[in-house]
């Protein structure tokens, strides 16, 4: 089943000005459910822009993004936010955890925003899988980078989204921790049947994925 599809996706920054930037120049991709995909490109290639379009964090200049048969470009802001919350999990390079919440509260926050009953067994399972049990009362400020990233992954998983988008998830981590995080992502994908798209500039990390999409100058090779 195709879980994500983009068609002729374009993004132009500062359109009409002298410094117009064509970040995406017509990107067509299709991703199946359960795939573990890496989007690889050099700095300024458009990989993060592509990820932002897919995740509904930014609006395209032209084209469409369809996730689970929903063209997200047609959704209003609130609908998009709720859609994103329920169907897309985000893992950022700088973790983006809420500093005033402990680990547990950070993980279940998307569920709470959705007004859903917490599936305690499922959440405990994620916590165990990501080896966060000892740290559930700890605030993010007192966690290491790797630990914070695992919390971010847990948060991304908790709503059982169709897709998890990870933007340079290992960017702020050392090589050993980076490998651990990618292994965790891969294991979670397998265990929870999720599609994972990782943006990275690292070939080494890309090689661990099922498929690599290369992007250069806003175009997919």
């Amino acid at each position: 089943m195709i879980v994500l599809k983009t068609k002729d996706l374009k993004k132009v920054y500062q359109q009409g000005s002298e410094v117009e930037v064509h970040a995406l120049q017509g990107v067509d991709i299709e991703i199946e459910q359960g795939e573990f995909v890496a989007i690889v490109g050099t700095s300024g290639s458009g990989k993060t822009t592509l990820l932002n379009m897919i995740g509904g964090l930014d609006y395209s200049s032209k084209g469409s993004v369809t996730i689970l048969d929903t063209d997200i470009e047609t959704l209003k802001d609130k609908e998009l936010t709720i859609f994103r919350r329920r169907n897309i999990g985000f893992v950022f390079q700088n973790y983006n955890l809420i500093s005033t919440l402990n680990v547990y509260e950070n993980i279940v926050l998307p569920l709470q925003l959705d007004g859903k009953q917490i599936d305690v067994e499922f959440v405990d399972n994620i916590i165990d899988t990501l080896k966060l049990k000892e740290k559930i009362h700890t605030v993010p400020l007192n966690l290491s980078g790797g630990q914070q990233q695992r919390v971010a992954i847990a948060r991304a998983l908790v709503n059982k989204p169709a897709i998890i988008l990870a933007d340079e998830p290992t960017g702020n981590l050392d090589s050993k921790t980076s490998m651990e995080v990618i292994e965790l992502l891969k294991m979670s994908a397998a265990k929870y049947q999720q599609t994972i798209i990782v943006v990275t500039h690292s070939e080494e990390i890309a090689q661990l994925c099922d498929r690599i999409i290369r992007i250069e100058d806003g175009l997919v090779g």
Partner: protein, 844 residues
Amino acid sequence: MIKNNNTSVILNLAKNSYKNNRSRNSLLIGAISFAVILLFCITSISFAQVDSEYLMYARKSGSLATVYLDRPTAEQYKQAKTLDCLEIVGKESSVGMGEKDNHQLFIGKVVDDVAYKELYRPAFSNIHGGYPTQENEVMLPMKVLEELGIKPKIGMEIELTLRDDKDNTKDEIFILSGYFEEYVDSHMSLPSAFFSIPYLEKSGRSLNQSDLLIMKQQDHLLFEEIESILYEKIETIDDIQQFVAADTLTYAAVQTVYGNYDTAIMLCAIIVISVFLLINNIMQISLEKSVRELGLLRTIGTTKKQIFLILKKQIIRIVATGIVLGSSLSFMIVRFLLPLLLSGLTTNEGVAIGEVITIRWWLLFIVIGFVGIISMISMLLPLKVVYAISPKDALYYTYGKNKISSKEIQTKKSISIRKMAWRNISKNRGRFFKTIISLFVASLLSIGSIMAIQILDYSNMYKNEADFALTEWNMNASNFISEDTYLSESFINELKKIDGITSMDTTYQAYVHLNINDKVWKPLQKAEGEIEEERQVYVSGLRIVDNDEIQKFESFIKENKLDIDIESFVRGETVFNLQHHVFSEKMEKEAKEVNGELVTIYNRKDEELAKFTFGGYLDLQMRGFPNFKNMSTNTTYYPYILISESGFEKLGIDKEVNRVYIFVEEGKEIEVHNIINEIMRLQNKDFTQEALPKIEVFAKYVAEKEAIDYINSIKILLYSMSFILFGMAIFNYFNVMHTSLTNRRRELVMLESIGMTRTQLRKLLVWEGILYSLVVIALLISIGSGFLYFISNFIQAGQAKIVFTYPTTAVIMLVAIITIISVMLPILIYRRVEKQSIVERLSE
């Protein structure tokens, strides 16, 4: 060593930074200008208010003089001229009383140039011509000319009758050298008319041996202080020569407007602190951006000193622009706009506040200096932050970097938005307390100023007065006691029957005879000088202290550390004499020698009633002297006995009603007044024309109506000031909330990125606002009430009765507005950013 040739780059970086922060700079320039305008206008208006009160007092008094010395010598005059504590020293001699048909018109005076120009002339208006210089010239007040039926023209001849101190009268022709408008209350004193020095010299006298030195002390010296200084510095010629002083008209004016100097200073401090908070809070807006900008410079090798220079150039430019703009606008407002706006607001003596408002350059410079300094200090805040942290931390500086005190939060539950809101505002303890304190202080200052203004509100001047007061003095100025009483029991019973009267109260008077030869009266006689030979008996009024007034008498004695046996007074064994500040310093000491002597009191038939121990002389002019309600007629240099209720009972005589206070249902004043008049008309029939006692009738509604313009003028000014302070408190609150939201953009966008809808986000922010407002409100109501009570007592210190009225309306309004801002602000801010994507906002 490589030279550091970086002046031009510093200049360029400064210019660049200035350009990149246009909106912040505009806001700062606006705030600085506003601060200058606000401070200068408020202080100018305050000074003008005091000036107009001052002018009113001066006109009522007839001169600015507040210190007098009788029978001065030339040496004393010379000494007085050298003293710093005396601003003005003039000379005055009397040439007799002007009269027409045995009716007194004016007091004839000869004064020196200093006395005329600096003490008398400022109290007059519409002056035509000048001070007399020729022997036969005279300068008269308009009132006198009107009474004489003369239409004045400079140079015209006028015949005047003068009575000298030996009671001889003389008719003389004078040439009118000048005339003027004066405002002395003719019931209290006669107006002054001026004669020339040659005229005085014609009678063999000279101003070198003037009758009086008339002077003015420095404004900050109270009457007790100046008298004490003068007695110390200038030796008196005998025991009874006396320096008589009053508080300056400036002090009286400040007291009228602000209660006292301390309150005026307190109100000034309130405004100043409010301005400081305003500018400081605005600086918080761009703190994050400024620190990052400077942090970036640090990371690429800019030294702290270079950063300071970059910032300094910007600061000077912003402050200078703000000050120039503010000063120019202030000047225009105070010079042109305010006189126009305030020209219609006049006092009873025709002094318009708009008339007296003026540009005080020294005040403008102080305001500019103050605003400039606090602006510069506030604008150096980013530098303080950058100096305190590493370049890398500065580069990634976020507002109020979290320092969560606990490493763990012991909960394993999902968290509600309300709890998240509380954690958000309290996560950084330092920032939380700073914000709360800033909001609390601004709110408290504004409420405190409103309350202060309510206390000083002139429309309350009659608030506690009875609706009507009927007063009868049984003894006249010639010490004749009338046997007929107007305010009799039957009359009062008639009044009680009037429908609409809610309650009545009465005070009493009583009169006795005293033996002029009793030892206790010697000091009084010595102070008076010559006594009429016919006088053998003193006729004295009694001031009876009710039992419920004893406590305030005790407090007065304690505060002034008087050596008085209050117990003996209460038991009715001791009496005191109230004197009208007639003793010199030496006489006061001498008067103490008669303490403990016996004084005998007689009835009006000279039958002995009782003997008492004499407790001493008490000066009625002493600051804070209690206002005992029972009063009798009293004259200077005559005894006026202070006696307790127990003491009065020993005399076995009746006291007579001296005043009836009538309280009326609201809205029935005119009706009741008419009935009272009718009752009085019927009562009058019981008396012959000659025997008809003189009754003073006070009607509050009439007095209020007459004072309404005056009351309104002060009200408008004071309430405008409080409105501005209130507005500043609201603005401060708005600013703090807005700053918090603006500086947390990233944090809030990040919440959206993980799935928080805008509605949920708004709910979070509204809760944060509500929680802030709840904390501020709780502090206002608890600790704030304590402060308000303190401010209320502070302003009313020295008054007989301190009343604390909680400014309920102002508090409710402030609470309501704070709550509205807390709720509406997040909603309005988030409306603006609807069109931007998360990524666009993250990159801002």
